[in-house]
Amino acid sequence: MTQSLDYLKETASQTAGPYVHIGLAPGAAGFDIYRQELGWDIAGPNARGERIRVEGIVIDGTGSPVKDVLLEAWQANADGIYAHPEGGGEVEDGFRGWGRVITDFATGEWGFDTVKPGSTPGRNIGPQAPHINLWIVARGINIGLNTRLYFEDEAEANAADPVLNLIEWERRRATLIAKRTERDGQTVYRFDIRLQGEEETVFFDI
């Protein structure tokens, strides 16, 4: 016999199911209930830095768009500070750094407006390249998938990023790099997420 460790076990995950919108984005489910839905404004009006749009699609193992996904984004501000007591400092008034977006029921396209984040401290070696943390849930996804979006135009920082460098297979790192495009004078980053297949997106156990 030994002493017992008194830890509790984490509550097990279950799929968000097809009707996740009712709870987290009721307007998309087709009704109006709350004074204000959460997560539609990531950066707020006072955020410094470059205003950008991020768009993409989630693709399943058959190559089809997944049309009932909910994504959440978590990012630092342009100075690399997270809006959190341990985030490294103060952020602009109204900057939350967190957003929630759902895919279009017809096309599977999703998109959100934000500011480009700055680089953030790494654990031990060097800074982390600018990135947006993403969390993906849907029917058929038993536990939320964590990934990171990096920026194509940050090649030097990306090359030194401790997390990208942790991915042994160099060609898989490319799945985390969003492509920079321009549309009507606005910067749009394209980030498609592949759940399976040869170009399967890198997902993390954080």
Binding site: G23, D60, P121, N142
Partner: protein, 242 residues
Amino acid sequence: MTKPGEYYQRDRMWHPPAYDKDYKTSVTRSPQYSLISLQNSVSEITGPTFGHNDVDPLDNDLIKNYAQPGQSPIGERIIVHGRVLDENGRPVPNTLVEVWQANAGGRYRHKKDTYLAPIDPNFGGCGRTITDENGYYFFRTVKPGAYPWRNWVNDWRPAHIHLSIFGHAFAQRLITQMYFEGDPLIASCPIVNTIRDKAAVGQLIAALDKNATIPLDSIAYKFDIVLRGRRSTMFENRLEGN
């Protein structure tokens, strides 16, 4: 310097695997490569914070938050209450808990739900609240009905409430489902059975709580939620700088 450290790693043998052939939709939506394991950086130990500006007092009362004045939804009136804790057994205060569910007939208020049970005009089916300083939360609602779904030909979901919890770090983010003590449909549900460990399933089944029942009014179920715990030893690796 002692600094609260990383979150305990997720027990992936306790959580459901991504791929389960008996939950058919998971087959084409499950990553095939192994997850890349990351030690926590500032990106994982931080997460969004919410306050009482974000929610309204009535948001946790599903009996009232969508009903016409003077009316209420059909169904068994229940209270769901409990605490959000971490794996160290400490309360998780001031964290956002969101719920959604079918009505008493098993029908969701969702444009994609076509089940023949009727929509209840007085029931929206969602709620949200922020845990108090002791990690405590409660909702008032009606007990959701079981409903059929397309998986095997004759699959029925046990009565359940979906829950979304944030904790204080993106690493703690969790969505799960709560079931009800005594429901005979739990044992045969392919979604429940994506979880291999019976103890982990048991932790998702809320107990009937007669002590918290309001006599002649509402029956209560108790459901505690456990989020990942955090290391805090003086030997912790530094998280920042080099």
